[in-house]
Symmetry: C2
Subunit: 194 residues, 2 copies
């Protein structure tokens, strides 16, 4: 159950037996059905989530319109770091798109680990840095790429998104309507045939 998350941690730092046990002790395994919410806007995000299996999307809700901005698959870490840091309610929603098994742990337990085993400071810092790099990259794409180009890049760089995620969520991720994505796909198909 905890094999994957331990492997992920150990790719960052090496843990001795005490440290590993202490870490495993704060872990909680949870199952979510399709469409269930792993995180709901308004909640305070006081946990860090690691996805064992399944996939989920993160979206903002603006006047009833859901703007998807990221997809997460197995082996990926997630927290709304803004809410996690500030203690303010989150405006992000995380929803299972397939049945999900996740491993999560609480902020307060992590902070206790920080105090007992300094090695976890480094884990926390690196997770935070990765979160930063991930959002920065997303912003780069949003700033520099048109929807059609983003879709082409998605196909080549993250094929599992195009294969596993329903198109209307991908459209939302690209900042366009499902009808427009449908047209883009048609354009791409026609271009290929020539």
């Amino acid at each position: 159950m905890t094999t994957q998350i331990l492997q992920s941690i150990k790719s960052i730092v090496s843990l001795n037996q005490n440290e590993e046990e202490a870490f495993v002790n704060i872990l909680e395994v949870k199952q979510f059905k399709k469409k269930e919410f792993l995180l709901l806007e308004g909640q305070i995000c006081d946990k860090i989530i690691f996805i064992n299996s399944g996939c989920a999307r993160i979206f903002y809700n603006v006047d009833g319109v859901e703007n998807t901005f990221q997809f997460f698959f197995a082996e990926r870490w997630y927290t709304d770091f803004s809410s996690f840091l500030t203690g303010q309610p989150t405006i992000e929603n995380m929803q299972a798109l397939e049945p999900c098994e996740v491993i999560q742990f609480k902020k307060k337990d992590l902070y206790q680990l920080y105090d007992t085993y300094p090695v976890f400071d480094r884990v926390g810092r690196i997770l935070a840095e990765n979160a930063f790099l991930s959002v920065s990259k997303l912003n780069q794409m949003l700033t520099n790429e048109e929807p059609e180009q983003r879709y082409l890049n998605l196909m080549s760089q993250r094929p599992e998104v195009v294969q596993r995620i329903p198109q209307h969520y991908i459209a939302s991720y690209l900042g366009i309507k499902p009808e427009s994505l449908s047209r883009i796909r048609k354009r791409i198909l026609l271009a290929k045939e020539r």
Copy 2:
């Protein structure tokens, strides 16, 4: 010269005299003329910049097209945290839009401070956290807002941008062409008249 940056630091942590002197010792004051580059793509961003006066923009260069994604004024911190962390060359450009006086310090000097005075760990962490919050907010805007709405928000939330920054840079920040911003401004004006 160093009054503003010290004040900014002291709003985060309190420093004793030794710590303050050690910090002031790593500071370097620099002047930039209008249009000069404080950071150029391809460089490794191994410094943190604090703006004393003037203003600057950050942009990506994509096939000769400059995509502006942030403006900085006095009292603001800047580093390309991605390049700073990874040691990879930056793809960000920082260009003075007005004559600028900045205070900067090097990564290696900061890391020495970390080792000597633990209080600076907290400074570094909080600057990093703020950097994250800032990119998250940008992501929110890019994901949730249309150019016209973003311009209206810019006018009310950051009037100094609209007042001091040439329109074609603002257009780029909004992800549109100067001609389109001109039309948006006209639309807003007409709407006001009614």
